[in-house]
Symmetry: C2
Subunit: 603 residues, 2 copies
């Protein structure tokens, strides 16, 4: 029986038939790899995710973390799974060999991580956060910081967090007030409260490495005065042995609707007033230069946001496969043509409305997975493409696609989970099946790492206008290249190419029209609609790409029904989904002021 | 401080400024009533809902029903609230005085019940189910059955259920197998298992009156051989005193994602084999004639489905008001024009994207509430309009609108709850706020009382084609009358009228095109899209009606900002929502076969 977490066949199609990842092994960074090592690591990810992560997915939901005095308690399966994960070395899959990494392409690593996210998004959050933390320190930390903090994280002994938000400062990071006082010994003492800190406290690891945004007194106001600090839960001696507990105190746990296996905490830094040496405050170590904290965080945000989109995709994907399995198994009702009640019931997968719900899910989750892997490929290009121009182009495209790869799966793979519940009907509404949990878990994704609205402002307010519109031009050129190939292929591909080209032309025209107003308030009023419409155009492009790849691959394996499925899902997306953008572009082009004119007293 | 359950001002507007319910008091059935009695009963509903239902909404979610041996345990607040409710007499608000009812118009009663649904949808489900049960027995039961079962239900001593589904027969009622063996004494003995029975067991009432669909051996197969039975949990002596326990056994509770305060059960009838008198089976009493069970159930389905739509609306409404209150209270970020980080933060309600999410919610929940009350008004017309033609017309319109009033709020007020979470951000994802629970609770509504897909088949496969299309023609004529009035009013109303007329023309044209195919499989393949598109047209109509009513009422109270809010929400719906139907109608008109051509092996 095939997995109901992800489809390995689809991953093979996307990685090899489409993205041709094996060609990356021609580059020095990946020279040690081959299709065989890629397959081996995917096998490993599937096996560990299936055997160690999936089995406690429901248990972690039913038994959320609790606080027993100062200690956070989780069900023991979480630590057991993470210990197995640490043994795989996968945490460091993309990192340099010099720090114990596997130097795996991001494209392949994203596919590996998707197995864990599909199996248990809450447990897999711990290594994802740790990896993000390690990446940041590798980019900006000193050699000593890498040795002290990154190596134990790579080994799975330490876990990491990101501490950005405060109770009064969520989306508005300009307003954080956590303070970092410089000390004579070059360290800092931090004072402040951090909110929504995932993985903020637990006993899963020997230590927790918090990366904390804070202000050094005297620095500039707003986001320009934010610096980044390493603040460990436990201080360590120069030789790495644990020393005193740092002044980082768990104030409380947040009780969430989903993602319940991931502790989410309110942390107090430096509130205890008891520090080794009698000095108050939590000991912190500056990362890089002062006042560069936000830029450092944002530099790493691309990967974190791809990670959120990948998690949303994985949840959508497993919900799709589970609802498909249910629909094939559950007899109910008869075809319209069978009027005799004595006719045997048929599986619900044969009812057109159920097929519509399955096909819609397929088009969302496979479209989203394609985008996630494509963005992984862009990370690889940005890092290893031989020509600097190609690296730049990849970076530019990645900048434009980041808000989309974060938001589109968060919206539409959540919609897929909604359809999965609907396919199961009453059964889908109960805890006897996984789909309701996936829906609850997935609901976090449009919120964390920058809400939908924040992504929309990022796309329309920054990414498509930056460098004189170079990002949008790069997107248009890249989509144009796909359109050109599809037109060359003729037939159905050419037909869909015409529709995609028209949609992309609308993106360009609407973007220009919005910014030609010279009025940012009007231009940005409907940024969320813009994000959604552009997202649908991008996924249509992903589907045209998949159609072309399927046609090419089918030449060698004409009987493989995977390709027929890809074609049908592409058709579905172009017929049922892409046309949704028409009214959205119309509204944007009308420079609608409905929300701007709405007064608070009218609600 | 105004309520965050519902808006009394909006109810006053809809009931009086728009639907002019006081005019109903000119009719004999409602002659004892007046605007004062209507207001008094609404006051009562608001007060009891606020004081007795809302306070334990979260507790009932956190502490779902459990089984202790054979006894179902709920938190005590549920029974306390229902005892207060019983004392209000509201259960029987619409019933005849002869059975202890208040003879309140359905329009007003729907508004009353909405308070309870907004406050605590799970606790209010018990009386809703009981009322549906009582209505069915009043319509089809014998005088003795009314005396024995309905009167104690009206008094709040007995509760009722509807037992339709079985483990292998959910949407497909043709396949139920529960068997009812006739006995010499005129009673029946039932054997079978019923699934998804809400309120199926508890100790909230002295008795539970199950209405059970079952087959009398020898009857026709399929839906034509289904009969309806009263099967009480506890048998009663002719004088009404409780006698032996009937052979109805709780097999288990379903554990749901939401609506957790409502017990949902798997019940076994006649499995115990121990009956008073030694005869096996659960004692049942036939309601009306044999083999009429499905018709009887369907006769009452209009009210049950309006009830589901009303519940979905109430959940959407309270989520909207709570997110509005939060957005006005929570400072975060600054206007685009304020570049200085020292500028004070503003409430998030002032950000255009948050206003968009609030306005969208307003347009969904107030549009849905208008439709719910309009359908209540149609029930009143059907029952009391002086002219038979008006009664027929109301019934016809109600038939067409029933799948829409059930489905549209279930889809879009759920979407409103999603937006309410998004307005609150991370806070909305925690149990510290109600909005996440509303979203979970509301997710049941597209499933129970006939799924979205079932409603779609009902609308396109039956309601718009019945009696030679008379239902659709009635809808078109009624919408046409609104369009005519709006055109007469000129200005903005006339503009919106033009768009509504064009959309309704598309409904008519698409319906004809679908059925002109002569191929039901193609016609019905996208029935769900048809339901959604027609639903949006109907809600646009509700908004044009509200706009006209607001304009008329504003003549007397020009400074009342309620009317400005109604106008802006109407604009929003016509600009942001109605255009969504364009691509849907295009797809339907294309007689798309994408889902029909999808093969199972292509998934």
């Amino acid at each position: 029986m095939s997995s109901t977490l992800l489809s390995r066949r689809d991953l093979t199609f996307l990685l090899h038939d489409w993205l041709d990842v094996t060609r990356l092994t021609e580059r020095p960074r990946y020279a040690e790899h081959s299709r065989e090592t890629f397959d081996a690591v995917l096998d490993l990810a599937e096996r560990v995710a299936t055997e160690h992560f999936a089995p406690h997915n429901r248990a972690a939901d039913l038994h959320e973390p609790t606080v027993d005095g100062q200690r956070v308690r989780l069900i023991p399966e979480v630590k057991a799974a993470l210990d197995v994960f640490a043994g795989t070395g996968l945490l460091a899959s993309t990192l340099d060999e010099s720090v114990g990494g596997l130097q795996l392409p991001h494209t392949v690593a994203a596919a590996c991580f998707a197995w864990f996210q599909a199996a248990n998004v809450a447990t897999s959050a711990y290594p994802m956060l740790t990896l993000g933390n390690a990446n940041l320190l590798l980019a900006y930390g000193s050699a000593e910081q890498v040795d002290t903090w990154v190596r134990p994280m790579v080994e799975g002994r330490y876990f990491g967090t990101m501490c950005l938000s405060e109770p009064h400062a969520g989306s508005s990071l300009a307003d954080i007030t956590t303070r970092a006082e410089p000390q004579d010994d070059g360290t800092y003492r931090l004072h402040g409260t951090k909110m929504w800190i995932s993985g903020g406290d637990h006993e899963l690891a020997e230590n927790i490495v918090h990366l904390v945004l804070a202000r050094i007194p005297g620095g500039p106001p707003g986001v320009k005065g934010i610096s980044l600090f390493v603040v460990p839960k436990v201080l360590v001696d120069p030789d790495g042995t644990p020393a005193a507990r740092n002044d980082v105190v768990l104030v409380g746990l947040n009780h969430k609707m989903g993602y319940r296996g991931t502790t989410n905490t309110l942390l107090s830094f430096g509130d205890g007033g008891h520090q080794p040496g009698g000095r108050p405050g939590a000991v912190g170590y500056l990362v890089g230069e002062p006042h560069q904290g936000l830029a450092q965080m944002f530099h790493m945000m691309n990967e974190a946001r791809i990670g959120v989109g990948a998690g949303a995709t994985a949840l959508g994907y497993t919900g799709y496969l589970k609802s498909l399995a249910y629909a094939r198994d559950r007899p109910q009702g008869r075809p319209l043509t069978a009027k005799d009640p004595a006719t045997p019931q048929v599986p619900i997968a044969s009812h057109p409305d159920v097929r519509r719900m399955l096909l819609a899910q397929k088009s969302y989750v496979e479209g989203a997975l394609a985008l996630v892997l494509y963005c992984g490929r862009l990370l690889d290009e940005q890092r290893t493409a031989p020509a600097p121009a190609d690296r730049n182009r990849a970076g530019l495209l990645l900048d434009v696609l980041t808000p989309i790869v974060k938001s589109w799966p968060s919206q539409w793979c959540l919609a897929a989970n909604d359809l999965a519940i609907q396919v199961l009907g009453g059964a889908g509404y109960t805890r006897d099946h996984d789909v309701e949990q996936h829906w609850r878990d997935n609901r976090l994704n449009p919120i964390h790492e920058g809400t939908h609205g924040i992504q929309a402002l990022d796309l329309l307010g920054r990414k498509v206008t930056m460098r004189g519109g170079a990002g949008l031009a790069a997107l248009a050129a890249t989509i144009g290249a796909t359109v050109g190939r599809a037109r060359g292929a003729g037939g159905e591909a050419a037909d869909l190419a015409g529709r995609l080209a028209a949609a992309m032309d609308r993106v360009t025209a609407v973007t220009r029209r919005l910014w030609d107003t010279g009025d940012p308030e009007v231009a940005l009023a409907n940024a969320s609609l813009y994000l959604e419409a552009v997202g649908h155009v991008v996924i249509a492009w992903m589907w045209l790409e998949q159609l072309l790849a399927a046609d090419a691959a089918a030449a060698a394996r004409p009987d493989d029904e995977l390709y027929a499925g890809k074609r049908q899902a592409a058709r579905f997306f172009f017929r049922y989904e892409l046309p949704r953008t028409g009214p959205q572009f119309d509204l944007l082009a009308s420079l609608d002021r409905t929300t701007l004119e709405m007064r608070d007293s009218w609600f």
